[in-house]
């Protein structure tokens, strides 16, 4: 099998900070690879180095068997394209945004029209060609960014948290498009994400990165079924390894330690790992009377502003990551150490393995 990406002892320093630390890795052609890790762990730097936008401080990188050097960097850049976490668009129409890279590659007018049309269809934005890109909603803008990358049909596709802080509909459209590209083409995909659901559904291999170091690399199903490795992932997102037992009404109660029991709409007993999407958790300042079977009291220990949404980490014995809109965040007058309740339905609890 051809190796698409090969890194040998790659280190990247920004001043005194090591963004990447002696990373060595091989990614075969046509593989879907996810990179998971907390903010500031080096995911973006890793992708930018693969995109030939940043040069490593030390170490060697080969793309498709060619060693990346000073001279061939801009040429090898054509092999890949990257979608950034923060949506960046040229201040022009959707069509011209997507056509930009194709024009640089010398495509004919007809070929450009055809490709723009087909990628817009893929991200469900048919007929948006003439719209000013910057007037679209946040989710639509990121879909244009993805379409612009997909139009180039590069061998290597680099995606930096493409669905972070997007609405649910746009996120699902993007996930579906990535999945389709992964299955129907020979594209090698490297996806950085926080989202364990994407790891589970979009990737064959996964690497956990922390403070610039690769902690684990392995097949997705192997890593997701290894509770020791999962303990490392758990610090990133709402993953809880535990022991499950079926209770009377057909649901299961899962002991996840620290006196926390999670009720899940599954029937299984024994060792299990579950996760809850941050968007599925409801946050309140007082205890609500609701249908949610799981309610825990805790306090906010971390606040991360993502633009239109805010990501909060809540310590309720176990740590929960919750994503709410900026408006709710402001209206609820939340601060660090605010006392809050997290609540989620038994049906929002999903198994990993």
């Amino acid at each position: 099998m051809n190796v698409m990406v090969e890194l040998n002892n790659v280190t990247k320093k920004y001043g005194k900070i090591n963004a990447l630390n002696d990373v060595s890795l091989k990614i075969p052609q046509a593989e879907s690879f996810t990179l998971i890790g907390p903010n500031g762990s080096g995911k973006t730097t890793f992708l930018k180095i693969l995109a030939c936008i940043e040069k490593p401080t030390k170490g060697k990188i080969s793309l498709d068997g060619e060693l990346v050097g000073e001279r061939n960097m801009s040429e090898l850049r054509l092999k890949s394209t990257m979608v950034f976490q923060k949506t960046v668009l040229f201040n022009t129409t959707v069509f011209k945004n997507i056509a930009y890279g194709l024009k640089l590659r010398g495509f004919s007018k007809n070929a450009i029209n055809e490709r723009v049309g087909s990628v817009l269809k893929l991200v469900k934005l048919e007929g948006y060609e003439k719209r000013p890109a910057k007037k679209l909603s946040g989710g639509e803008q990121q879909r244009v960014s993805l379409a612009r990358a997909l139009a180039l049909r590069t061998e290597l596709l680099l995606l930096d948290e493409p669905t972070a802080n997007l609405d649910q509909r746009s996120a699902s459209i993007i996930e579906a498009a990535i999945s389709q590209i992964g299955q129907e083409t020979n594209t090698t995909i490297v996806l950085a994400t926080h989202n364990i659901f994407q790891v589970k559904t979009l990737s064959e291999k996964v690497a956990l990165i922390k403070n610039g170091n690769l902690i684990h690399v392995g097949k997705t199903h192997e890593i997701l079924s290894d509770s020791k490795k999962l303990a490392d992932f758990a610090r990133i997102e709402n993953i809880f390894p535990g022991i499950s037992h079926v209770i009377e009404d057909g649901t299961s109660m899962i002991e996840v330690g620290d006196n926390i029991q999670i009720e899940a709409a599954i029937r299984r007993s024994g060792k299990i790992s579950v996760f809850i999407r941050p968007e599925d958790i409801i946050l309140s300042k007082t205890q609500l009377k609701s249908s949610a079977r799981n309610v825990f009291e805790g306090k906010i220990i971390e606040i991360l502003d993502l633009g239109s949404t805010v990501r909060l980490r809540i310590d309720a014995g176990k740590q929960f990551v919750v994503q709410i809109t900026k408006r709710s965040f402001i209206e609820m007058q939340l601060n660090l150490s605010s006392k809050v309740f997290v609540a989620f339905k038994a049906s929002s609890v999903q198994t990993i393995d």
Binding site: L78, F84, K86, V88, F90, Y100, L104, L152
Partner: protein
């Protein structure tokens, strides 16, 4: 530095306020006579006034064109580049923004006059000489505004252009294209500064009738000769040019947004 927007309405209001003060101070009658004469001159399309007007636009337009050829690339290099001395370079051009036109005019006079080191270029008492002088005058404005425009663009645009396959030069061009509204402002503002300046036009051009007389030098001379009607007519034309350019800039800015 934030981009400064030209605001024609406030400018017009301030002109009216100044005019009101002038009317109050100067005898009302003299001013009234002046205005009446000026309107007559403009309506009758006085050939000499037309000639002076077009010469002004031509000279300052040439100056702007000269300045573009070096100021935009310099602005692009400083705005995009990451090098030691970048903030020094920015500070230098910012400091030069307020250079007094008479001081620059004097320096250019010493260089260009027939006995000066550049006398052989025959730029003294020559419209081209004025254009060169004005181009030097507006260079810091154009560079500073261009740098601001480039720096106002999201830095990620650079990475975006690169990852879509652009070379270094194509990346710089993409950034320049994104900053079109700001760069337009830089060009328009520079033209306005050039056409409205007096010091260089007077000292290099020497206000020779039919050759180097422009709007500002003509206004100054006619006023000192007591030809108030003519001065007001010329001033009204100059103001009309500056205001239309500002208005046009504003309209373009709105279209780009």
């Amino acid at each position: 530095m934030r981009l400064r927007k030209f605001k024609p309405i406030p400018l017009l209001i301030s002109f009216l306020v100044v005019a009101a003060v002038v009317i109050a101070v100067v005898s009302v009658e003299e001013f009234y006579e002046g205005i009446k004469g000026a309107i007559m001159l403009i309506i009758s399309v006085d050939p000499e006034i037309m000639e002076i007007t077009f010469r002004s636009i031509y000279i300052s337009g040439t100056a702007t064109a000269f300045a573009i050829t070096w100021s935009i690339p310099i602005g692009l290099i400083i705005g995009l580049g990451e090098f030691g001395g970048k903030s020094f370079a920015k500070g230098l051009f910012n400091a030069l923004l307020g250079i007094p036109t008479v001081a620059l005019g004097l320096v250019l006079y010493l260089l260009m006059s027939s006995s000066g080191p550049l006398g052989f270029l025959d730029l003294f008492i020559n419209p081209l000489g004025i254009a060169v002088g004005q181009a030097i005058l507006i260079t810091p404005i154009m560079i500073s505004f261009t740098i601001s425009a480039i720096e106002a663009i999201e830095p990620e645009i650079k990475d975006l252009a690169k990852t879509l396959g652009a070379s270094e030069a194509e990346t710089a061009f993409a950034v320049l294209k994104e900053s079109t509204p700001g760069v337009t402002l830089a060009i328009m503002g520079s033209f306005n500064r050039a056409i409205a300046e007096l010091g260089i036009a007077f000292m290099i051009g020497q206000n020779v009738r039919g050759s180097t007389r422009v709007l500002t030098t003509a206004i100054a001379m006619e006023t000192s000769r007591g030809e108030i009607s003519l001065s007001i007519a010329l001033a009204a034309i100059l103001l009309a040019i500056v205001l239309s350019i500002s208005l046009l800039t504003n309209l373009l800015q709105r279209r780009f947004r």
